[in-house]
């Protein structure tokens, strides 16, 4: 009788341990999944803001007559942002290269040097569309941004 009671107590303790272990396991799995989702979502938001907001801010900085133009780069369009002045010796270029949006600031006469360009953020697509004379639509796989040029036109 005493042996039987002991055995049932052991079974009870093992069952209890099983419940605890299962609970912890489920909690860890759920917590890990939540953490991964949160971090992924946060990174996507950051990348989107970094890429699109940076491009919009750069265009705003060069918003003057002849300051913004669209050219051709190694993987599609290049956004050309030219310095003030009639000779415009230097320009800021933003374009797609190997899965990243990259930028370089260089002499207007020089050719593109994507190997030494600074990466802004990851994107697989980058397209520039001119609508009318003063609206520029920038599309990436992170979303799109529309920029109305107040002073200049898209060349």
């Amino acid at each position: 009788m005493r042996e039987e009671a002991k055995r049932s107590q052991h079974r009870y303790i093992i069952a209890l341990l099983g419940v605890f272990a299962m609970g912890f396991l489920l909690l860890v799995l759920f917590g890990t999944k939540t953490y991964l989702q949160t971090v992924r979502s946060q990174n996507e938001n950051n990348d989107r803001r970094a890429v699109l907001t940076y491009v919009a801010t750069a265009v705003r900085a060069y918003d003057r007559a002849g300051g913004v133009a669209i050219g051709t780069g190694p993987e599609g369009a290049v956004l050309l942002l030219r310095d003030a002045g009639s000779d415009a010796a230097y320009e800021h270029r933003i374009y797609l290269y190997r899965g990243n949006l990259v930028e370089e600031y260089t002499a207007s006469a020089s050719s593109l040097t994507p190997e030494s360009a600074q990466a802004l953020g990851p994107t697989d697509t980058f397209s520039l569309e001119k609508e009318g004379k003063d609206l520029l639509r920038v599309r990436t796989d992170r979303g799109e941004t529309v920029i109305c040029l107040r002073a200049g036109e898209v060349g």
Partner: protein, 147 residues
């Protein structure tokens, strides 16, 4: 005496189990809230981008028809009295039955030199009852053409 000892043991383990279930419930609630907040942050980021794009489109348009033309893609526009509604899916792509609804009011006010257009841009989701974000803007169109 022995039976009383067993009862105390079972009771204490039962209490421990209840405590454990309580801890699990609290932590699960925290994780669920984290997931919900993350989804809200994502929606807010998209809504802010959509509102900003709509404001830029308003700046570029010379009248309500042109505004609708700029925003129209994949039949995502609905003209309403006093404004325009544009729909976008969760990937921020224009779509006729979109997840995001961007509503722009268009309130032109004639002045001697041109037209002052005031607009309130509101972004909401199909599931939400409250707008995700809202901004008020204005653009001056000189003599029918933007200055």
């Amino acid at each position: 005496m022995m039976r009383r000892g067993h009862t105390a043991f079972y009771l204490s383990t039962l209490l421990l189990l209840l405590l454990f279930v309580g801890v699990l419930a609290v932590l699960t609630g925290v994780f669920s809230q984290a997931q919900r907040k993350s989804a809200e942050a994502r929606e807010l980021t998209t809504a802010t981008a959509l509102a900003r794009n709509a404001a830029e489109a308003l700046s570029a348009a010379h009248d309500e028809t042109e505004l609708a033309h700029i925003l129209r893609e994949n039949d995502n526009i609905q003209q309403e009295e006093g404004g325009i509604c544009a729909f976008y899916d969760q990937a921020q792509q224009p779509s006729a039955e979109g997840f995001y609804r961007v509503h722009l009011t268009y309130e032109p006010q004639s002045t001697p030199g041109g037209t002052l257009v005031r607009s309130t841009i509101t972004v909401e989701t199909e599931k939400g009852t409250q707008p995700l974000c809202s901004l008020s803007t204005a653009v001056y169109i000189r003599g029918g053409q933007e200055p």
